[in-house]
């Protein structure tokens, strides 16, 4: 179905190719998972399938890409619309119309499908994706999962043979992500579509893949069965890491397979003491919180975003804030920082017990630092150096002169970012580090991060975990809002779960995230009823002789 014949892609300002001499043959009806670190060329490979690379992005493509007998060299992307459906990371970016039904019909209108056929197909897709109830709703009113399903539906109506998906679940909460992935696997089985899927959170999809394309980062692509690739790849989901650790053969890819293989491991671990999920807190003083908030209320007109929430944050603790999209996580973080709306409640921060909403912005930021969901919103200068200098200037007078400069902070968080780079050209993780460094320059004892794991790969998340541990060890209180339960299992001491603006669970990580299957990390599912959460814990529990 899809043939890559000696394909190399070089962008105009790059000195080495993103993809080098790639040869692929993807047969019809396969679900093919694209794996690799950020910047290894996943989006380039996906874009090359329908000719967006290089027709739209620029650059040079050597070799040939042929889909169903059509060559991308002679056909622009629009001529592939009847053959290839493309769904992007952010569904709202691709919406052309404004209601569900019209969006589903848009592609067919472009292909001049007769009106009666269109009507029939729209009805079919509405049923297939469970969108019938939403048919005349405006697109912006839908939840993230629903929007992503509309985006998938809108390319399915043209009856493509190939579906290309670029991280379709990265902005979704676990339940919505499951919903979208279930839809995709169903389409593969029901319609025999060929699906090429890129995804960071492998734990969700690896079990459904027929094969994996692994981009090593040097331009080469390895193409093999999932178990073969995952046995050695640098990025792997926890289930695979556990399998590697325990030496299971064949390597299990799903929780179900792993659980069947884990019988001996569970017996072995049963009478061993469980190592702590996180190193014990050394600086915790729960009776003297760095921030204490009571009955916080945030409302936008009729919509109550945060309803009478009590939070207290202690030094040295990393707290994860979880909950589905729209449950009030962001509103709570912004209200705690003092920059967001807040209609009620009391708040005391720092040693003086000041309310962040009553003090100046400069003072508030030296009490509570916040890294917003889109870190780039804070950046507006041309080089990293300018941004850092600006951060130093902004903090003069607020912090004492012995405080580390923004450059020192950045070097600690992410060493080796050159001065003259434009902030836009940084990777997702580097940009996060830059904004974090800017916010830490004011030396706030409380640091809040709004969905920092979005767009980070496994090594990126490990680096973030290390940074957060360091900050906590210095005696700061950290709050991270995230959907990523595997990240929470390794990085958080405490978990708060929000729903409809209220706190529904608050406690030590192990207690909260094992309470419900949807929020459970893979290791916990595999080793239940033993209270293990991470692969590191298992490794620690086994005596050195038994480790491989």
């Amino acid at each position: 179905m899809i043939v890559f014949d000696h394909v190399s892609v070089t962008y105009s300002d790059a000195d080495h190719p993103v993809l080098q001499d790639v040869n692929l043959q993807i047969p019809e009806g396969e679900l093919c998972l694209l794996m690799g670190r950020t910047g290894s060329g996943k989006s380039t490979l996906l874009g090359a399938i329908n000719g967006l690379v290089p027709h739209f992005t620029g650059g040079t493509l050597a070799g040939r890409v042929v889909v169903d007998g059509r060559d991308t060299a002679t056909n622009p992307p629009r001529e592939f619309a009847d053959l290839i459906g493309v769904v992007m990371q952010d569904p709202t970016a691709g919406f052309v119309t404004d209601t569900v039904e019209e969006e589903l019909a848009y592609g067919m209108e472009q292909l001049a499908v007769p009106a009666d056929v269109m009507r029939k197909r729209v009805e079919e897709i509405l049923d297939l994706l469970g969108l019938a109830e939403l048919r005349d709703r405006p697109l912006y009113e839908l939840s993230g999962g629903q929007q992503q399903r509309v985006a998938i539906g809108s390319v399915l109506t043209t009856h493509p043979k190939v579906l290309v998906l670029d991280e379709p679940t990265s902005a979704l909460d676990p339940t919505a992500a499951e919903e979208v992935l279930a839809t995709i696997t169903r389409l593969v089985h029901d319609l025999g579509l060929t699906v090429i899927l890129a995804e960071h959170r492998l734990e969700r999809v690896v079990q459904y893949a027929d094969r994996i394309l692994y981009l090593a980062g040097d331009g080469s692509v390895r193409d093999d069965a999932p178990a073969e690739i995952l046995a050695t790849s640098a990025v792997a989901p926890p289930v695979v890491e556990l399998g590697r650790l325990a030496g299971w053969q064949p390597l299990p890819l799903s929780v179900r397979d792993a659980r069947r293989a884990a019988e001996p491991l569970r017996t072995e671990l049963a009478d061993r003491p469980v190592p702590p999920q996180r190193p014990p807190l050394t600086t915790l003083h729960a009776d003297e919180p760095l921030l204490a908030a009571r009955t916080i209320l945030v409302r936008y007109g009729d919509l109550v975003a945060v309803r009478n929430v009590d939070v207290s944050l202690a030094a040295g603790q990393v707290t994860a804030l979880m909950g589905r999209n729209g449950s009030g996580k962001s509103s709570l973080l912004w209200a705690l920082q003092g920059s967001g709306a807040r209609q009620g409640g009391t708040l005391r921060a720092g040693s003086a017990g000041l309310d962040t909403a009553d003090v100046s912005a400069a003072k508030a930021r030296s009490l509570v630092g916040l890294v917003p969901q889109t870190p780039a919103d804070l950046l507006y200068l041309d080089t990293v150096q300018d941004e850092l200098d600006q951060a130093d200037a902004e903090s003069s007078g607020v912090t004492d002169s012995s405080a580390p400069s923004a450059r020192d902070l950045l070097d600690r968080l992410a060493p080796g970012i050159p001065d003259e780079v434009h902030p836009r050209d940084l990777s997702e993780g580097q940009r996060l580090a830059l904004v974090l460094a800017i916010q830490l320059r004011a030396a706030p004892p409380v640091v809040l991060l709004d969905e920092p794991t979005r767009g980070l790969d496994y090594p990126g998340k490990q680096a973030l975990t290390a940074i957060l541990d360091d900050l906590a060890a210095e005696g700061r209180a950290i709050v991270v809002s995230t959907h990523d339960v595997e990240f929470v299992a390794t990085a958080a001491d405490r978990v708060i779960v929000m729903a409809q603006g209220e706190i529904v669970a608050d406690g030590p990580t192990a207690n909260v995230i094992t309470a419900s299957p949807a929020f459970s990390p893979q290791v916990a599912k595999i080793l239940a009823p033993l209270p293990y959460l991470t692969v590191a814990q298992v490794a620690q529990a086994r005596p050195p002789g038994q480790r491989r």
Binding site: M88, Q110, L111, T158, A376, L378, Y380, E394
Partner: protein, 377 residues
């Protein structure tokens, strides 16, 4: 059974659907043409009443349907401006005029003596200025009524293939505007997080640059998405075909403009009116037909054109025609003079013509009320 109950029964048995947007536009433009013929304030207020009646009967709950009140406000502003200008640049005053008040006169140089600034303001002048403003305001309201009644996006879909790109650009920019506002709000809120002490231009820069980057990235992604979904697939267009289309359209538009001017201005020479409009329309149609040949596209759930559409469009056109033929009434009744001061009369035929335009309030099918679904969680 009372008449009201009978009407309500008939109403409830008709199948709700949305009327073809072009029918609403024909109706509104017909009424607007009728309005352009008269400065009789009684007739103009009757037109406003008719518009109000039809809108309350047949508008949906969509955002654009609530726009009519803004058109009304604009109409008031138009009247006010007209009156103020007439008072400042006062014209000749006859001895019989009723003087309301006197503005201080500003002497103008002799080479500018055609215009007086300041001076006495008469009741007659103010009234005729108000009537003139009312005509312009009512014209605006006719357009506003069409906007409130016809879904603008469905109206754009009716555009011939050659103008399709224009329609898409409008729809996309309509959906981008709220996103831009959201983006500005987000960045402004984020700025407080850095507590920058910057002032003036630097503040602007710290907001404008992230917002523009955001907008640019968004539009690039949208363009990529539209491209991969088949937007702009080529039919049989050639460069010369496009040039001929553009030339025909330009000439046609010029013809239409000249024709409209000739038709509406009673003092223009006869040949400028109808012939120019017909020639212009013909040129435009040829251009559109030629341009549409290169488009291979279809339309999802096209609006049907049935009896109610004919009825609604005919009501508007009938009003226009009745006010143009000046049969059964004297033309002076349409444009009553305020010199000497007296009440404007209410001529029978024009009144009936305008009342005919109220029929769509009943003739158009009832609107489709969307089922209320609970809001996003």
């Amino acid at each position: 059974m009372s008449k009201a109950v009978t009407l309500a029964l008939i109403e409830s048995r008709r199948v709700p659907r949305s009327l073809h947007p072009v029918a609403w536009w024909l109706w509104a433009l017909g009424l607007a043409t009728a309005v352009s013929r008269t400065t009789n304030p009684v007739l103009l207020i009757l037109v406003l009443a008719v518009l109000g009646f039809v809108i309350t009967q047949r508008r949906t709950e969509a955002p654009w349907a609530r726009a009519f009140k803004y058109y009304l406000a604009t109409a008031l502003v138009v009247i006010a401006i007209r009156v103020v200008f007439r008072s400042i640049f006062s014209s000749a005053i006859t001895p019989e005029d009723h003087i309301l008040f006197r503005l201080p006169r500003i002497p103008t140089p002799h080479w500018y003596s055609g215009v007086q600034i300041g001076g006495p303001v008469s009741l007659e002048a103010t009234l005729s200025a108000a009537a003139d403003g009312l005509r312009l305001g009512t014209l605006l309201c006719c357009i506003g009524a069409a906007n409130a009644l016809a879904n603008p996006k469905r109206a754009l879909r009716v555009l011939p293939g050659a103008l399709y790109e224009l329609g898409v650009a409008v729809v996309v920019s309509l959906s981008v505007a709220p996103q831009l506002v959201e983006s500005v709000q987000r960045v402004r809120r984020a700025r407080r997080l850095r507590a920058g002490k910057a002032k003036g231009l630097r503040v602007l820069r710290s907001i404008v640059i992230p917002v523009l980057e955001d907008a640019l990235e968004r539009s690039l992604r949208l363009a990529a998405a539209m491209d991969s979904r088949g937007y702009g697939r080529v039919g049989r267009a050639t460069a010369s075909n496009r040039r001929i289309t553009a030339g025909l359209m330009l000439a046609g538009m010029l013809g239409l403009c000249a024709g409209a001017y000739g038709l509406l201005d009673g003092t223009a020479p006869r040949y400028l009116g109808l012939p120019a409009i017909v020639a212009g329309a013909a040129l435009c149609c040829t251009g559109l037909a030629l341009g549409s040949r290169r488009i291979t596209r279809s339309s999802y759930r096209p609006d049907p054109w049935l009896a109610p559409e004919w009825a609604v469009a005919a009501c508007g056109v009938l009003s226009a025609v009745l006010l143009f033929v000046s049969a059964g009434y004297s033309a002076a009744d349409l444009n009553p003079s305020f010199y000497p001061l007296r009440w404007p009369t209410l001529p029978v035929v024009p009144t009936l013509a305008i009342l005919v335009a109220a029929l769509p309030g009943i003739a158009a099918p009832p609107v489709l009320r969307p089922r209320r679904v609970e809001a996003k969680a």
